[in-house]
């Protein structure tokens, strides 16, 4: 029955800490989507990278700076970015910040790290 029931996650489960130093990220993997709720201390950096997955990033509190090769986009609380698959991007938090990332399809690379079951 597990597949047809609603599953609740508290804020402190399935969290990977220091995947990026200063950051805690809760990963929830469904059949088709990876949901990541992140909490970054000031100074947390996500190095530039690419992936084929579509990404949606919303900043919920503080601010996140998205770093593309030729521009930066600042997301303040309530602001959202859509990053198409294959687009190089990194990110940094100059102040403490929280937000969510959504990926499609599932980030199998993160799933292997075991965030969901910790």
């Amino acid at each position: 029955m597990a597949d047809i029931e609603v599953r609740k996650y508290t804020a402190d489960e399935s969290v990977l800490r220091d995947l990026f130093p200063g950051g805690g990220i809760q990963f929830i993997h469904t059949e088709n989507v990876t949901f990541a709720a992140w909490s970054f201390e000031a100074g947390t950096r996500v190095p530039a990278h690419t992936h084929p997955h579509e990404q949606i990033t919303q900043c919920v509190a503080g601010a996140l700076i998205l770093e593309m090769p030729d521009e930066e986009i600042v997301l303040h609380a309530g602001e959202t970015a859509v990053i198409p698959g294959g687009v190089e991007h990194g990110a940094r938090a100059d102040t403490a910040s929280r937000g969510v990332d959504i990926f499609h399809p599932v980030r199998e690379d993160y799933k292997k790290l075991g965030g969901e079951d910790k």
Copy 2:
């Protein structure tokens, strides 16, 4: 080039108001995912319904009560629920609350309402 560039959405664009009385919902539809950032006043209700889409709901502020036929699940800030496709659910906000929903595949029914371009 639109498809391969990062697109930023401010908090006040693409918002549908009073789809559910007392609620404002920003819809962002990508190729595979619908992202909905909602802001509910106290008393907002989403009637019971089903859809074949997978759904992830995170409460960001306040609390959201998910109403299933035989149980209620309360999501406080930072708490998340995964609702498999086909599972009947409604929701209500007894206090002002904010959060996000993610749907896969795209909610074509909401896309038709034009939220993205308002």
